[in-house]
């Protein structure tokens, strides 16, 4: 088994087919006039038209986009602080615990994160009356917590490559620390910040498990709506919606990847 043997290259092709065929099929089905996945009833865009008038999905999508934008922005600020703390401040009391707290949500099963956050929100509400009910706010806080760890990983990697002496030089030339940071380090971090925000945004847009725990009646995100429709079986409308989501999210991730790739050049 060498790197270029036919078997190895064949497995690579199989792997890509395995990864992409289901997505491709979903896209093909979304244009199928027939409701059946194994029968081709001709090309049609009627499922998209139906989707465009389905207020359940439109409302849910609007909520999801707002939650994703808010939680990604929160996560960006918090994650950047965490990365700066880990790379630039290095030594501080509780650093080991801090590093553990940053890494743990990355590997924690979603069901545990969701249950834990919900139980805390309920306990908080009983104790101090906040948060009042569950919905936009609780989902945003939950998503920001998970996403901040991903942002930290991305920004930290970039920060480790930037030279702190550049910022020190700016200070030697008379710039106050805050100004030196904004004028020197922040532009160097910009691609990582953009990539981190996009990752956080897509993570939020994609999450169903945590949202299902911490949302309340009246706050249905798009994945929750999709999940409850999908439990009833395959539907052409979901195929159309899935195609739209995959294209939008795929474009976002491709941009994030390009931003991170540029660092070496």
């Amino acid at each position: 088994m060498t790197r270029r043997s036919p078997f190895v290259v064949g497995m690579l092709a199989f792997g890509y087919a395995f990864l992409y065929l289901p997505i491709a099929l979903l896209m093909v089905w979304s244009f199928n006039d027939s409701r059946l996945v194994s029968v081709w009833g001709g090309f049609s865009t009627r499922w998209y038209a139906q989707l465009a008038h389905d207020t359940r999905f439109l409302d849910a999508a609007w909520l999801s986009l707002r939650v994703a934008a808010a939680s990604a922005s929160l996560a960006l600020v918090l994650g950047t602080c965490a990365a700066l703390a880990l790379v630039r401040v290095r030594r501080f009391r509780g650093r080991t615990l801090f590093a553990l707290l940053i890494a743990a949500p990355l590997v924690m099963p979603d069901v545990i994160m969701g249950l834990a956050l919900l139980l805390m929100f309920v306990a908080l509400e009983q104790a101090i009356g906040w948060p009042d009910g569950r919905g936009f706010l609780t989902i945003t806080l939950a998503h920001a917590t998970i996403a901040l760890c991903y942002v930290t990983v991305v920004v930290r990697a970039r920060l480790a490559q930037t030279d702190p002496s550049l910022e020190e030089a700016a200070q030697d030339l008379g710039a106050p620390p805050a100004k030196a940071f904004v004028l020197v380090t922040l532009p160097l971090l910009a691609p990582a910040l953009a990539a981190g925000w996009l990752l956080a945004f897509t993570l939020s847009l994609d999450d169903v498990v945590v949202a299902q725990f911490v949302s309340g009646p009246g706050a249905t995100t798009l994945p929750i709506q999709v999940m409850s429709s999908v439990r009833l079986g395959v539907s052409p409308e979901i195929n159309a919606l899935g195609t739209v989501i995959i294209l939008v999210v795929g474009a976002g991730i491709a941009v994030a990847w390009r931003l991170l790739e540029r660092r070496g050049r």
Partner: protein, 298 residues
């Protein structure tokens, strides 16, 4: 570090994310542990407080392991535990069998193409997990595409029941977590010294022998990291068993959600969460060790 950040700024940099994680990760986590020891009741919230102040003076601690004892007694939970580990283990093995040759092929590709090949592996992982799992429903169901194809080819004359079985869950997990296997494997394979393989060939080793004697042992850290990265999330998986497993599969993540939302038994759900985490402590510790070692080794 240095003068770059002022003392006040430094404190804020640490305090802001640290405080956030303490409030929204550490505290919730401790609450789960506390509630797993509480007694269930019917009401809001559906559990009794751990500290009983009603007696006056010192509060009485009302903690018990009854919820955990229930997990061991009830066949439903024992089955969920065993099935979670078995399905996650089998899926991990399949991921390794498919992912290893893929990583080997990417590491062997010309350098300028590797980045694109890798991105093609990662892209699906970030792209709507839920929708991609859903796509398999159309492929695997009784009147779905796979059965249609097999019937048309004449391989079978009765549709196979795949959806709503453990097999569908394994397919879904392998499909969803394959990138987790390929990435760390690629990372170790890419660093290998090619001259070692050439030396083995010069000494007369056939390609297979050279693979077993050189490549495989050198890639063991990648195998371990990849396997853990697949196994850990697979054990607690909820969406895949729910959509593809039907009533036939019983896994911890799904059981937790059902106990929580349908029975509204929060203490038992919390106990299940603790039990799930207990199953993951050893794999997580191993993963941490591997990462630390690769960091030190550069």
């Amino acid at each position: 570090m240095g003068a770059a950040v002022s003392a006040w700024g430094r404190r804020a940099l640490v305090a802001l994310p640290f405080g956030w994680l303490a409030a929204f990760f550490l505290a919730p986590f401790l609450i789960v542990v506390a509630i797993s020891l509480a007694e269930p009741r019917i009401g809001v919230p559906p559990y009794l407080p751990l500290l009983d102040w009603s007696g006056g003076g010192w509060p009485r601690l009302q903690a018990s392991f009854a919820n955990f004892a229930l997990l061991f007694d009830d066949a439903f939970y024992v089955e969920a535990y065993v099935q979670s580990l078995a399905i996650a283990g089998l899926s991990t093995l399949l991921c390794l069998l498919i992912g290893y040759p893929m990583a080997l092929a990417i590491a062997g590709a010309p350098e300028r193409r590797r980045s694109l090949l890798l991105m093609l592996v990662i892209l699906p992982f970030w792209t709507s997990f839920l929708i991609r799992v859903y796509a398999w429903m159309g492929i695997l169901k009784d009147e779905g595409l796979l059965n249609g194809l097999l019937l048309w080819l004449g391989v079978i004359d009765q549709p196979l029941v795949i959806l709503n079985t453990g097999i569908a869950v394994i397919i879904g997990i392998v499909y969803s977590y394959l990138p987790f296997m390929v990435l760390p494997l690629y990372a170790t394979l890419e660093r290998h010294d090619r001259t070692l393989l050439e030396a083995a060939a010069d000494l007369g080793a056939r390609p297979w022998r050279a693979f077993l004697a050189v490549t495989l042992p050198l890639s063991l850290p990648g195998i371990a990291a990849g396997s853990l990265l697949v196994f850990i999330p697979a054990v607690g998986e909820y969406v895949i068993p729910d959509l593809l497993g039907g009533g036939d599969t019983n896994m911890l993540g799904k059981a937790l959600w059902e106990v929580f939302s349908q029975s509204r038994d929060w203490p038992t759900a919390a106990a299940l969460a603790v039990a799930l985490l207990a199953a993951l402590v050893l794999p997580l510790a191993l993963l941490q060790r591997i990462f630390r070692r690769t960091e030190e080794g550069g």
